[in-house]
Structures are given as structure tokens and as C-alpha cells.
Amino acid sequence: MKIRAIHWFKYSSPQNFYFLAGRLWPWFAVLAAVLMAVGLWISFFVAPTDAQQGQGYRIIFVHVPASQMSMFIYMVMAAWAGLGLAFNTRLSGMMASALAPTGALFAFLSLITGALWGKPMWGAWWVWDARLTSELILLFLYLGFLALQSSIDDPRRADKACAVLALVGVVNVPIIYFSVKWWNTLHQGASVSLTSAPSMASTMLTGMLVMVVAFWMYSIAAALARVRCIILERERHTEWVKHAVE
């Protein structure tokens, strides 16, 4: 019996990954652009007007995928960070720092779109709802990660310190979420919640799913493109980079 060994660790070298990422990211970018065009078309022209919320609800096609991605990217970032600490691989830290700005962007986008949705629906730009508050704290965690990254000059040390921070953060995210949730019920804050919204029409659901996949593709493409820049920056003293950029 012949088993073909797969060299999983081949792409853990920044040099190999640089070229792999270079081949992959345009595909993800094209997919993201196409899916986003389709998703936006469905959400603006195909999906019916909501009986209760009118046209204003359409922002959830951006809002829901953005908040999902912001939470998911933090988990992925922490996973890369953990890998980096466990195996001492350089690429893991680079991936974590490539993901952080995208995650922060989505957290910000989700807060902005949430505010834009909340004004016509709830009558307020901001309510201290459990979800909103924990999303805001998630943005703070991203900002802390980015700030720590940028204030340590040695990139290896920055990666490791940020890895510890990301792991501490990921342990804390559920604790923060539940504490904010219980705090909210004690204070009797917003009485309107997303969970009580009526069930969605199937075209709305399709549009949402397409947008979710589009945001996934965008995140992957952005992370790969960014990690290529990080690799070039950190490996600039090596011979292969000199050849690669020529």
C-alpha cells in the first residue's frame, strides 16, 4: 500500500506560503467581488420589502455578515496565535497580525450598520443592548491587539506577546458576553431584540447567505494579500525576496 505523504509543513515556511498566497488570493478576490455583486443585487432588488421595517431593514444584509465575521475572525486569529506559540512557527504570528485589521474593520462596520439600522427601528443610534455592547468590547479587544502589535519593535516578540493577548481575549469573550447579557437583563435596557424579529422570507435568507459567503471570501483574500506584504517586509533581508520583488 502506497501512502503519499502530504507535506503539511511545506507551507509553514513564509517563502513557500508567499507564492501560494500569491496564487490563491486573486481567486478569492474575484469570488468575493462576484458574490458581493450578486448578494447586493438580491438584497436591493429581489428581496421583498419587509412588512414591519420597510426598506430600512436592508442594511442587515451587510450588518449580519459583518458581525459574524468580526467574531469568527477573532477565533481564527486566536487559533493562529495558539499554533504560533505551540509550534514556534513564524508564519502563524504573521497570519494572526494579517487577520486583525480585517476583524477590526468588520467589528467597526457592524457597529456602524447597527447604528444606522437602530435609528429608524429603535429610534436611537445606540442602545446598551447586550449584543451591541459586546460587539463594542470586541472592537476594543481588536484595537488592543493592534496597539500592542505596533508598539513592540521586534516582530517576533510582538507576535508572541500578541498571541498571549489573543488567547487571553478569546477566553474572556464568552465571559464578557454573558456578563453583559446578565447586566442588561438586570438593568432592563432595550426591550426590542433581534431575536423577536419575524421569520425571514426565503429570498432574504438567500441574499443573506450569499453575502455571508462573499464576506468570507473577502476576508480570506484580504488576509492573504496582507500576509504577503508582511512576509515581504519581515523577510526583506533574504535572497528570495530580492528575486521575488524584481
Binding site: L148, G169, I176, W183
Partner: protein
Amino acid sequence: MMAFTFKPLGLASVMLAVLRREVSLAMRQKGEVLTPLVFFVVIASLFPLGIGPESALLLRMAPGVLWVSALLAAMLSLQRLFATDYADGSLEQMALSPTPLGLLVAAKALSHFLLSGLPLVLMAPVLGLQFGLDSQALKILMISLLLGTPTLSLIGSIGAALTLGVRGAGVLLSLLILPLYIPVLIFGAGAVEADAAGLGASGHLSLLAALLVLSLFFAPLATTAALRISLE
């Protein structure tokens, strides 16, 4: 030839030695202990000036205001938790010593609590009186601070270790640590409010104790990892 044989110290006595060292160092510079305390009093006194002297409003806000002030005051002295030991090299000696670094770190966090958390616990009732809290609320406030401030010191030690020898460490430390303090703040201030609302504070206090146990176990691990990275 003389053989160097060291009798290994027990873990408890090592921790006690670290504690004694921290306390005696702090006693030689009393300002370091007093500054956070004064800061706490000043911050808590600023709120009525900003909000107005209405006693009903102040009573309503007191637990939150006192807890936020305590949080900021406890953070004020965090930066020095490892910085002086890092500067004079004794932190490296601790990292090299046969005693697990996690235990030494836990002892340092405990000393931080004794020197900056405990004074806040003792000062809080005085400030609470100014806000018009009754004796039952003051009792709950003190218990919640007593359970919460050690957690603040433990979580804070992670941040202090991460920002060791880093540019702009002070501001960075607050950016990293304050979001992680939120659960402690919620349950700490919530305990007093729940008691005032007639719900009983035991639920919140139990959660505070749970956070303390959790951070007592995990925070020294994370701090140790962060210190080893900083000392590389």
C-alpha cells in the same frame, strides 16, 4: 573543595519571601501606596461635581462610580508591578530560579492586591457614605471589592507583563486591560444594586468569587508566558 548544597526552600516560604520583599519595598516609598488611594478619592469626588449634588441621583450612581474609580486606581500602580524588577535584573533572577515563575508571579499579584486593592476596600465605605449609601449597601460594596480587586490585580499582571519595556506602556496597559475588567465591574457594581433592589447580592458575589478562582488559576500562567516573552 566546598560543595554548594542548597536546601530547597518550600514553595510557601518562597511566596512569603516575595510578599515580604514587595511590602517592605513599598513601605520605603510610601508615596507608591498612597498615590492610588488618593487618586481613588479624587476621582470618586469628581463625579458629584460633574453630575450635581442631587442625593437621589448620586445614591443611584454610587456603586458604579465607586467601582469605576477603584478600577482606575488599581490600574494606576500596575505598570510598576514588574517594571522596577525588570530594570534592576531581579526579574531575570526570578525567571531563572528553581521555583516556578507562576508562583512568584501569583505572589507579586497578591502583593499588588495587598498594597493597592486592600486600601481601596478600606477606603470605599468612607466614600460610600458621601454618596449616601446605607450600612447594608456599604457592607455589600466592601465584600464585592474584597472579592473583585484581587481579580483586577491578577488580570492586570497579564497586561503589565505584556507591556514590559514597551513604548507608551502606561496607555497601552489600560487599552489592553480595561476591556478584560468589564465582567468584574459588572458583577461588582451589580452586587450592590441587586441588593438595593431586594434581589440579594449572593448571585453576583458568587460570580465574582468564580472570576477570582478562574483568574487565580489562569492569570499566572498567561503572565508567566508573557514575562518569558518579554525577557527573551
